[in-house]
């Protein structure tokens, strides 16, 4: 890990963990909210020295997750080929889960007493698939102008915006990702028009009336940054900075220096943008940096060292294979496509072997989608990348490849203690595939999220249909 900055932040102190709310703080938050609304009972209890109006403090976690797991049956999947997401494989394995948690993963000797037994022989079990890069909800379908909520492209740096405030939970793409792709968790990012696009949000892929009902409890926030062509095109095209790659860096560096000054200034007024940047400097918010070219990624890693933050993952990273050594040394993941190339200049050197060469170099690989279509087939994208590596002689086990779309993604999103692999005590986010998930011929048969069966290909009633689709042609179709 890069240099850790610790500041005295009186007036802006932060909680130890995002999303963890002490009950007293919740009460305090209710009280202050009450006073802001002019409600008398709460304010009358407040200390007379306290300001009359006060927002919740950042560490109180505004917009908290309201998600809680849906009921599930104690379930035993028996006889499957199990990829545990952490690089393990069990043939003829048994997976037990109940009360929302994985209980045990092992062989046929595990007792299934007290569990509903599903014969999974000939089938495969993986952890829920995780997409680290999605715009579902903030660029939902239908893709009409009124739904373009992913880029606050009015300033090159908008750390103050939060993706969750753009997410439309009725995006039909969420259900497709679950039913066809086995997606159980995903990170929604702002777009890449801006150098600093704003906070990301990590969701459980559970249908909900509100985004709060999808927010992954306890997941850290991410911070979207972008280098290269997009920011300089968007802003240079308007005759303003940045219009070059060097302008991108100058703008970013000055913003980081401003954030450091803010963090050091006990008297500064609250500033939403700066709060997010300080969260990054403190290591609580994870940087997800859209970046294609190898040389630019190397520069970004040095910029991070200069400012005192850490890049968690480069996204897209089509040239990551050129600097696998640097990425390994800096412990930065590459979240990549299997085969996208050529659509813009900085994507010209994309090759199918990117993931395999990174793995060979000992660097962290995550396969991502950035697409409402490909999120339905991350397993197939991973398989493509695997085959390309195997053709050039790089050994890549099926179990390791599954980790590219499960545990590695969870690690880079800071949720690996909770999900991403089938280990006792972890969330029972589980996919039962009707065949080898690394084959084009396989589909999710059932998907559980926190132990609740939320998709069953054999049962129409376990097929989510968003509000938007009701009463429309094809409502409830297999899709």
């Amino acid at each position: 890990m890069a240099q850790v900055w610790r500041f005295s932040l009186r007036g802006k102190s932060r909680g130890a963990a995002f999303g963890a709310l002490a009950s007293t703080l919740v009460l305090a938050a209710c009280a202050t909210t009450g006073s802001a609304n002019g409600s008398s009972s709460a304010s009358s209890q407040a200390d007379s020295d306290a300001p009359q109006f006060a927002a919740m403090a950042p560490e109180d976690g505004p917009f908290p997750s309201t998600y809680s797991r849906y009921p599930g049956r104690p379930t035993a999947l028996v006889g499957a080929t199990v990829f545990d997401g952490a690089g393990g494989r069990i043939d003829g394995g048994t997976v037990l889960f109940r009360d929302g948690e994985v209980v045990a993963v092992g062989g046929s000797d595990l007792s299934t007493d007290g569990y509903d037994v599903i014969d999974a022989s000939g089938k495969f079990v993986t952890p829920g698939i995780i997409d680290i890069h999605s715009h579902l909800g903030d660029y939902p379908t239908p893709s009409v102008d009124a739904h373009n909520d992913g880029n606050e492209a009015t300033s090159p740096t908008t750390p103050e915006v939060w993706a969750e405030h753009s997410v439309w939970p009725q995006d039909p793409g969420f259900s497709r990702a679950m039913a066809n792709g086995g997606i159980t968790s995903l990170q929604i990012l702002p777009g890449s028009a801006n150098l600093m696009g704003g906070r990301t949000v990590t969701l459980k892929n559970v249908p909900s009336r509100t985004v709060q009902g999808m927010k992954f409890p306890g997941a850290p926030y991410g911070f979207k940054m972008a280098c290269g062509e997009n920011p300089k095109r968007v802003y240079g095209g308007r005759g303003r900075a940045p219009s070059t790659r060097m302008g991108n860096f100058a703008y970013n560096r000055q913003t980081w220096f401003d954030a450091i000054d803010y963090a050091n200034n006990e008297d500064a007024d609250r500033n939403l943008a700066m709060e997010t940047l300080v969260g990054v400097l403190e290591g609580d918010i994870l940087v997800h940096n859209h970046c294609y070219r190898a040389d630019e990624m190397a520069l970004v890693m040095d910029m991070a060292k200069e400012a005192g933050y850490r890049v968690t993952a480069f996204h897209h990273a089509v040239e990551a294979y050129k600097i696998g050594d640097l990425l390994r040394e800096n412990d930065v993941c590459s979240a990549i496509w299997a085969d996208w190339y050529g659509f813009k200049m900085e994507a010209y050197d994309g090759i199918l072997e990117n993931a395999a060469l990174l793995q060979q170099a000992g660097a962290c690989v995550v396969i991502h989608s950035d697409s409402e279509a490909d999120i339905q087939r991350l397993n197939q994208e991973a398989a493509k990348a695997q085959a390309a590596g195997q053709r050039m002689g790089i050994e890549l086990s099926d179990a390791d490849v599954i980790s590219w779309i499960t545990l590695n993604a969870a690690k880079a999103m800071g949720i690996d203690e909770m999900t991403g692999s089938l280990e006792p005590g972890k969330m029972a986010d589980v996919v039962l595939w009707n065949g080898d998930p690394l084959s084009v011929y396989s589909r999710p048969e059932r998907v559980w999220i926190d132990g609740a069966l939320l998709y069953n290909s054999m049962d129409r009633s376990r097929r989510p249909v968003s509000d938007f689709e009701l009463g429309q042609p094809g409502e409830g179709d297999v899709k």
């Binding site: 239908p142 813009k344 050197d349 072997e353 197939q380 129409r460 297999v478 899709k479």
Partner: protein
Amino acid sequence: MKRLLTFAASAIALSSAIAAAPASAQDFVIVNATLALGDGSEPIEDGVVMVEGGKVTYAGPTSGVTSFETDEVVDAGDAWVTPGLFATVTTLGLWDVGAVSQSNDQRAGGSPFSAALNTAPIVNPSSQHILVHRAAGITRAATSTRPSGSIFAGQGAIIDLDSDANPIMRERAFQMVSLGEGGARLAGGSRASAHVLFRAALREAQALSSANRGTPQTTEITIDDEVLLGRFDAEALVPVVNGTQPLYVAVERASDIRSVLALREDFPRLDMVLVGAGEGWLVADAIAAAGVPVIADALDDLPESFEVLAATQSNIGRMKRAGVTVAISANSGTNPRNMPQAAGNLVALGRIPGAAGLSWGEAFAAISSVPAAISGYEGEAGVLAPGAIGDVVMWDGDPLEVGSVPTRVFIGGVEQSLESHQSRLRERYRDLDESTLPKAYDW
């Protein structure tokens, strides 16, 4: 020099000849193939393909072969052998980098021409995309500019993807028009305008083509400085209205499809192909009755727009069941090279209750013989049958499986290089060793 062989185990022993890759067309026979003919049938074990003079002379089971004369015998060792894939509709050869406008000839929004645009002279056979897609087993393609300045895209070409200087099989092979949401925007903001523009354009063409060849009523249709139809465009539509040039109609919504099928009431000779048809399954019987083939995306299942609210991956399977001729669009997926993945997914779909997929043979045909037939090459391309072009691909696995790639590609009987910018990068960065010299010297 030809060798006369009696087909027996001894033939296999001669397979060492595969080491020498021929630089030009030569006769060859592939034995011990897991053979997909591309005609919709299921694969054949122990298949044989014979190519002579650049044409297929035999493709089928070993039992159908007695003896043959050839230059080279290739023992496939049970590997998959198929016809070359046929990609439609693509923009292959028309661009280098999508977002680099100087390198991108897909759209001509600022042009005074639309239907008159001709793709043939601008196809670049050295484009990296041609090289990459050749290495993915695509040997022929329909390629065209896209509707941009007006509803008409221009005249597309059928191309081969071999390495010689001439990629054009047929120029002015088809015209394309957009009559859905996209066409409505181009025509001034409403489908109503798109339909009037379309009919006006075809009437101009009728006037130009009639026996008492008359003067068009209008010489030009414009909005401000935008030319929606000029004289050259009207002339280019003469073969469309006469039915000698197919008209590819980009349309998605069920009601739009019905309106397009009804165009033949006014223009009975139109030879139409539907492109897109995202809601085709809702009107599959009408499409089948009209005998209009479809080029459809395989995996679109989201309401990306209000014209595809009913999108489902079962669209192609349901249309096929209704009797529609359907090719999988080369746009199914990020690149045309993902066509086999799209086809494989439709095979997978067959196992999901309530869904309509395709059999393996149907799925493979939907990226080989069916698009070839829609393009006017029935029995000639996308299929291994006597008389067909000698486009043969050997694979390292099931060609519809996501991990599979070609190991050898023959186009017109000529073995092709599978190298590209991408393969060169792969070799350069096989390791990151710069201990003696920078990577720039590693080539």
